[in-house]
Amino acid sequence: MTLDAHVVVQRGSLGVDVEFWVGDGEVLAVLGPNGAGKSTVLRVLAGLLPPDAGRVAVGQDVWDSADRHVPPHQRSLGMVFQDHLLFPHLSITENVAFGLRSRGMRRAPARAAAAPWLDRVGLTGLGDRRPGELSGGQAQRAALARALVGDPRVLLLDEPLSALDARTRLAVRAELHRHLRDYAGSAVLVTHDPIDAMALADRVVVVEDGRVVQAGTPAEVARRPRTDYVARLVGLVLLPGTGTGAQVALDGGGVVAVAEAAAGPVFVAVRPESVALYLQRPAGSPRNVWPLRLVAATPHGSVVRCDLAGEVPLTADVTATSFAELGLAPGAEVWASVKASEIAVYTR
């Protein structure tokens, strides 16, 4: 019962055209900046928004096509929303039992079926509380139980962790990981947080401006970003260019020496911590050395992130100590060098 989706929607000025599939027991993360159309895709999958074109099918069942739109309540799915959306007038047990009740189960058996789910998400004994009496993390766990209780074929998660504070997010993310591992259906996780995607998903599609710009396993996406957005998310500087032998001529000017031979249109990815800064041109004969100008410097944990402008725009992470020793201020001229072996190069 693989989820197969091609979603085409026009939302104001944003045209969304996204295609993907999710296998049984698989978790697909849809990663993208705000306003990229991720949530629109999820609303289409849920049936809350009829698509303008395309097709949504689960196994043999077609949910959306040119001549068919199955309304949300007839789709076998569970959805977890960013701010849980537990019904405020119902107890937690009644919230979790809601899906069973609306699908025709009687009150007592539905409540009985909801109880083990409360145990599974760690809310034992809180079933009689109202949503307003739970913490954010507890409420999101209850929302997960509510979505999973009917054993849906598709589970949709819309930024499920982004409304939580940092510490709660860590705990709920770990639990969510456990539940997603046990879940037999197809799960789609929409998020703008790369850590959520990396930690929870088997595969990632990156959506920007309504289009899929990259797809792959979390490791592939992290190692070989294909857009500036993804590169920034995973902390890399991405430079497009054209390879000839062990050299890449960058589209923006400048030449980068690389360790592996590259040919044709390629991306060059540089980790900021592999960039070294000097006040004088470094001695010896490093091949990748450029005179650059410091544009901005911001503290980033134990390092200072230096944005550099010039022939090859780079970002360098230097320790606070060496930053102080260099005595740099914005506007300062520096020499930046990177070992060829530290540079990743892959075809565009």
Binding site: A46, H73, F81, L85, F87, P88, R146, A147
Partner: protein, 263 residues
């Protein structure tokens, strides 16, 4: 405080409060017991409470679905529809009474077939009182409930849909409980308006003690015959109004609808 604001404000307070004070001051407190015990008073009060309650019931049964259509459906011409159903809100009630008479009167568009085929006459009956009051009061309920529906978070309805609830189930189990405070406030407002209804009632239902003579009609009549009785009847209506205000106090002076819903 600047005098040009303070002075008119004080005048406004005096203007609004003094007449009511006058009513209380001039009340024949010594004979109020026997006055209230008169059978006509009890009759009019009973009829008023009954017809206002029935009118509120009809308004709830018809008006809440109408409010839902105005707030949630995507039908075309919705704003025109909203304008149409709120006309009675601004229409002089006596015009409403005339209009009702032309439609449901014995020779009216609907009234004639009703009379000829079923032998039913509506005008000058208690039913006519309820119809007149519903006509005037239902828009208050519709507007109030529609506002509550618009203020309620529609994403709860999305959540219910993803949990297998069709729109009717969603309405019953999610929407209705969420806007219950708004419906209650609308019902109180509607009931108070129906209770005070005069123009449409006297035009369409007439003024027959026991069947169509509600409290406001009784007050008006008594004022010409027995002013003291009019004062006593007015006091009763004032008391009912104050009680209504008390019921609505939390809504108007404190929390609005939906604010009690935790995020």
């Amino acid at each position: 405080m600047p005098l040009p604001l303070l002075l008119p404000a004080l005048l406004a307070v005096a203007f609004l409060v003094l007449p009511l004070l006058g009513l209380v001051v001039r009340a024949p407190w010594s004979t109020i017991g026997p006055q209230l015990a008169q059978p006509e008073v009890g009759q009019a009060l009973r009829l008023s409470l009954l017809s206002a309650t029935l009118a509120t019931g009809v308004s709830l049964v018809l008006g809440v679905p109408l409010a839902w259509v105005l707030a949630r459906s995507r039908i075309r011409g919705r704003s025109v529809l909203r304008a149409l159903v709120t006309v009675p809100l601004v229409l002089p009630p006596v015009v409403g009474g005339v209009a009702l008479f032309l439609v449901i009167g014995r020779t009216g568009i609907l009234g004639r077939p009703l009379y000829e085929h079923l032998g039913v006459t509506v005008p000058f009956t208690t039913t006519a009182v309820v119809i007149a009051e519903t006509f005037v009061a239902m828009p208050f309920l519709v507007i109030s409930v529609e506002g509550a529906l618009r203020a309620a978070d529609a994403r709860f309805e999305d959540a219910a849909a993803t949990l297998g609830a069709d729109r009717w189930t969603t309405f019953r189990r999610v929407t209705l409980p969420l806007v219950a405070p708004g419906i209650a406030a609308g019902a109180v407002l509607c009931w108070a308006r129906a209770l005070g209804e005069f123009g449409a009632t006297i035009t369409f239902a007439g003024n027959f003690p026991g069947t169509t003579q509600t409290m406001p009609l009784a007050v008006y009549l008594a004022l010409q015959r027995d002013p003291e009785a009019a004062i006593v009847l007015s006091l009763v209506l004032l008391a009912v109004s104050l009680a209504t205000l008390l019921l609505l106090r939390d809504r108007w002076l404190g929390r609005g609808p939906g604010q009690g819903v935790p995020a």
